[in-house]
Symmetry: C2
Subunit: 336 residues, 2 copies
């Protein structure tokens, strides 16, 4: 009989947390007891899992010795508040919040750097990278043999679902107000989000870089094992409900063999390649899918070492929940 | 008494054409007779100018000897169909369509390369560059003393007004249908435009580059007098009504002095600089304005020669109509 694992999901009522519950079910993860945890204000709500109703409990006071594996899918501060208790109780940890340093919880995308798991020591801790890093890393790793990346420029247009359910509701509300000709008081977002593009998704630091922008660059370098790769990242908030759209321009170490790149992308199983003339969009090709979509694959106009790509990906699914469950599957296979 | 000039606007009923009429009025351009021309299907409509009503006439059969200056603001094919007649009649020409080669009609933005006018020979022909090139060129030219650009990556998110009035109407229609839960049949755009990002704005060529993407690169090289500059351009269609949002990442010849860059941008009169923490958007800061807005000015995280910028600009106004009228003013001052 397959062993079953008792799990906890912290942040279970968020959109990533709910998708985690759904993906565990879809992939028939060998779940024993599933504890769905959240802030005290969400305790008592129910989530359905395998035709059962799970009651959401408060993460405060949870006895981590009841589970073997914990998904941290809430705010980084929640991870930091509870990680020591989880580790002291001997839990394995998969962090989706980005709170843990990569020396403690290496960033892993199974299609990119699963070999990182070989070097882990107990208690096993892994981080699921941020959604844009997952998508870009999968595509660049698939092209590893064809393109030696020397410089990377990433412009990531994030869906409002990156701000959770409130982001989705607020874009819908603003859009309806404007279409009805009513004056708009933006909430949640700093400026009008409907029919507008916002140039940042979180507060910039002294140098002007946002938290997510730094995270994308650091995680890509770790995932691709290119610690010295210069990465320029700009994260925009787009008036799109679900899915990330990412424009990538890179410089390779030498002239890019476009024929080899296109042939390799077309035959890859870890991504969906969209032929020229057509192109992927989040609405048509990314949301609900398990792999990133890649199109508009172009060399440089002026520079034979340049490669340009357009990537769309489900930020909640492969960008977070699905990748985290895949990491849990790897952990089980390796160690549990 | 100031001399007055008889003018023709071809494409007068489009959004750029109508804005041309408006800007000529606002800036008190010394207009004598103003002929507003369009395709036969629009002939007979009226446009208001200086409290008069102008009757739109068909461009077919227009006698170009009646005017001294012609604005071509329709499709490139219309420019190509009528340019020879206009030149044969001795007209000066300002082309907004991009149809004429830069050897014939150099690209000019007054804030960037007005000195090009010194070398013109009659009949004088100038091109007003495409909107993203105008905005980016103004900003980079303002930083000419501070930053020697060696490589440029431009991701331009275009408003649907770049597709004219039909683009605006179609985004509104799609949005209303979706908010009302009705099924959507996209028109005009290749895919759903509402709550989505489209990865191209026109048909790509054999190498995958769109017409506008090539135009942005070529025009920037000409405007900045950097013929060998490698430029990577991606043009996206965003669910935004008016105004272009442009993310720029560049490499300079040496380390960027950020202090000097910020100080210079803050004191520039040809653009509006937005301090860190805040950032410009098309809705809040670009539409209806005569200058581009620049914000999110950041160095590189990994590379001291990198500079990142976010630019918003009114694509119909400074990106087209206003710049074209400014070119006409320069022509008059120099030659007429």
């Amino acid at each position: 009989m397959t062993p079953r694992f008792d799990l906890a999901i912290i942040g279970a009522t968020g959109s990533v947390g709910e998708t985690l519950v759904q993906v565990l079910d879809e992939r028939e993860f060998p779940v024993g007891e599933l504890h769905v945890l959240a802030g005290a204000e969400s305790a008592g709500r129910t989530l359905s899992f395998k035709e059962r109703n799970l009651r959401v409990a408060a993460v405060e006071g949870f006895d981590f010795s009841r589970v073997r594996l914990v998904f941290f899918a809430a705010h980084p501060s929640v991870t930091l508040a509870h990680i020591d208790k989880a580790l002291a109780a001997g839990c394995q940890v998969i962090d989706l919040s980005g709170a843990l340093p990569s020396t403690q919880a290496p960033r892993v995308v199974p299609e990119v750097n699963a070999s990182v798991l070989d070097g882990l020591v107990a208690p096993y801790q892994l981080s699921s990278p941020c959604a844009p890093a997952v998508a870009v890393a999968i595509v660049l790793a698939a092209l590893r043999e064809q393109v030696e990346v020397r410089r990377l420029t990433v412009t990531a247009c994030l869906a409002v679902s990156s701000r959770g359910r409130e982001g989705v509701a607020e874009l819908a509300r603003q859009t309806a107000e404007l279409l009805n000709g009513r004056p708009l008081e933006p909430r949640l977002f700093e400026q009008q989000m409907a029919f507008n593009l916002l140039a940042q998704v979180d507060a910039p630091d002294e140098q002007g870089h946002g938290v997510l922008e730094r995270r994308v660059g650091e995680e890509l370098k770790q995932l691709l094992a290119l610690p010295d790769l210069p990465v320029s990242t700009t994260c925009l908030q787009a008036p799109v409900f679900f899915g990330d759209s990412i424009s990538v321009s890179l410089q390779a170490a030498g002239p890019v063999n476009m024929e080899a790149v296109l042939a390799h992308l077309a035959s890859s199983t870890v991504l969906e390649y969209v032929e020229p003339k057509d192109f992927p969009t989040v609405v048509g090709d990314a949301v609900g899918q398990d792999v990133p979509y890649v199109g508009r694959v172009r060399g440089g106009i002026d520079d034979p070492t340049e490669l340009n790509l357009w990537i769309t990906s489900d930020n909640v699914r492969k960008g977070a929940a699905l990748n985290a469950v895949q990491l849990a599957e790897l952990l089980i296979k390796h160690y549990l």
